[in-house]
Amino acid sequence: MSRIRTARGRQSGIGSYVVLGLLFLVVLFPVYYGLVGSFMGERDTNSFPPALWPVSGLHPENYGDALGIIPLGNQYLTSVLQTLVITAGQMVTSALAAYAFVFLPLRWRAFWFGVFLSTMMIPYESIIIPNYLLISQWGLKDTIAGLTLPFLATGFGAFLLRQSFLSFPMELRDAARVDGAGHFRFLFSILLPLSRPSLAALGIWSALSAWNMYFWPLLATEDPRHQTIQIGISQLQTSDGDSPGMVLAGVMLALFPTLLLVIFGQRFIVRGLTAGAVK
């Protein structure tokens, strides 16, 4: 039987390889060109038809140029700070709320949970105008506070952690209680460490979303030094004296952290992404 299966497997394999190979070329081409193009000089990128690899030598100085033409270094820092603050904020507010939903005698539990869920139904773009006016009136444009405040809580996070807390064995919780652990101690030194996979899922999810944000940072910042890297690279394109190689180098710099996350943190990502999809 096993021989038959192997044979059949190989047979279907050939067709699979061809289709898969074609899809591979098409899907991965932008990734390839982004990477290779970031090392190409203008002679290669501006020739027609353009070179598909650095024919006229490597130009790693594209990276230096990209960092120099706009304050990409500052922007990197802004993006990192923004991501850290949002991620930490979302994890804390979500953990607290989820804890109350699962372990505490909350009145109108269904109502409040409904409030949390309802925040996920409201597309952010539909309330972006008042948020913009608010942040500018408070003088928070071009600040980390302005970039992060609206995103310090998420209904999704509370929902995700609540699911995880629900499966927490009640005996353990009672045992902790007997030991005299207060709510905070129980939450932070027992429950959360044991919910690490879900917490990691939420963390990666929040970090990816925060790092990749575009619309809000576009509105909430003006000064290039205070913009996030996502805005920065999209403006590399329109800056004077651009070359495709330099633009792509900027893209690669912005891409680096998320690329690592996707390659090495895939299983956590899947857990976070599909929390609602997989029953």
Binding site: S47, I127, L259, V278
Partner: protein, 300 residues
């Protein structure tokens, strides 16, 4: 212990429980619910040249919306863009996911490789596609020139621009869709697949008759999430076409941006009315999701 002290204790307990919700609720109140109410209020007001509300005008902004041919085009573009991105990105991801299920070599490599688009933000992906689409020196036209095709105006031809932006968006969605579908497939019991194989079902038939129904929840989830996501698309339009040519890529969200923030516009009233339309559409889709998911979709 008297009943009143129990009641008081319970209230105190509930108050303490509520305190755990407060941090999140404050954020929601200030940055979601207040703005939501404000959006509604703005949408029934005019706006002066500074951007201040200039008094209530009733439903003028709304009636203006639906008599404005440009806005009807916006709705059409939004619809077309959604259809052009959601279904192809799911279909392609499904094909890849199914192929990765078959017994092939280096499956881990392929799995990671195909998930790479997920690492791209809207901005990074759009900038790369902008370079690829460049009519004068872009690689896409370069490759086409080898087979004798003249330079294509990917982003400035009004008949083509939405397809080009949609194609870039499909690419951006691909990694995510693939992860979700793969997770669904991975959760299927091996014995179900094995039984199907032994029965002689193979290839397409196996997949259509046995695998597909089992991952309907994932596919349905992707349709809904993808639709809402497509409706919210902004970065790729801002970066690739700024809504043009001739408004053929101006979607609802882009139109809101344009009315409120671009071009010395500060028509917050009119833009807010459009924002309310967006809100209603998303709410309707969520409601559909809610209704259908509970009943229609096949669950194991």
């Amino acid at each position: 212990m008297s009943a009143t002290t129990v009641g008081a204790e319970r209230r105190r307990g509930s108050l303490m429980a509520f305190a755990y919700l407060v941090p999140a609720l404050v954020v929601f109140a200030v940055f979601i619910f207040w703005p939501l109410g404000k959006s509604v209020l703005l949408s029934v007001q005019g706006t002066d040249i500074i951007g201040n509300p200039s008094g209530f005008v009733g439903f003028v902004n709304y009636t203006k919306l639906f008599s404005d041919p440009d806005f009807l085009q916006v709705l059409w573009v939004t619809f077309a863009f959604t259809v052009l991105t959601v279904f192809p990105s799911i279909a392609i991801a499904l094909v890849i996911a199914l192929l990765l299920q078959s017994r092939i070599r280096a499956v881990r490599f392929f799995r990671t490789a195909f998930a790479l688009p997920f690492a791209f933000s809207v901005a990074t992906a759009s900038v790369i596609f902008g370079v690829l689409y460049n009519p004068a020196s872009g690689v896409l036209n370069g490759l086409l020139s080898y087979i004798g095709v003249d330079k294509v105006q990917w982003l400035t031809d009004p008949d083509l621009a939405i397809w080009s932006v949609a194609a870039a968006t499909v690419w951006m969605q691909l990694g995510y869709n693939l992860l979700v579908i793969s997770a669904g497939l991975g959760a299927l019991p091996e014995d179900v697949l094995e039984a199907a194989r032994l029965d002689g079902a193979s290839g397409l038939r196996l997949q259509r008759s046995i695998v597909m129904p089992l991952i309907t929840p994932q596919l349905f989830f992707l349709v809904v999430v993808g639709t809402i996501h497509a409706l919210q698309s902004f970065g790729q339009i801002k970066i690739l076409t700024v809504g043009g040519p001739q408004g053929t890529t101006t979607t609802l969200v882009y139109s809101i941006y344009e009315q409120a923030f671009a071009n010395n516009n500060s028509n917050y009233g009119y833009a807010s009315a459009q924002a309310m339309v967006l809100l209603l559409i998303v709410l309707a889709i969520t409601a559909v999701q809610f209704g259908v998911l509970e009943r229609k979709v096949f669950y194991r």
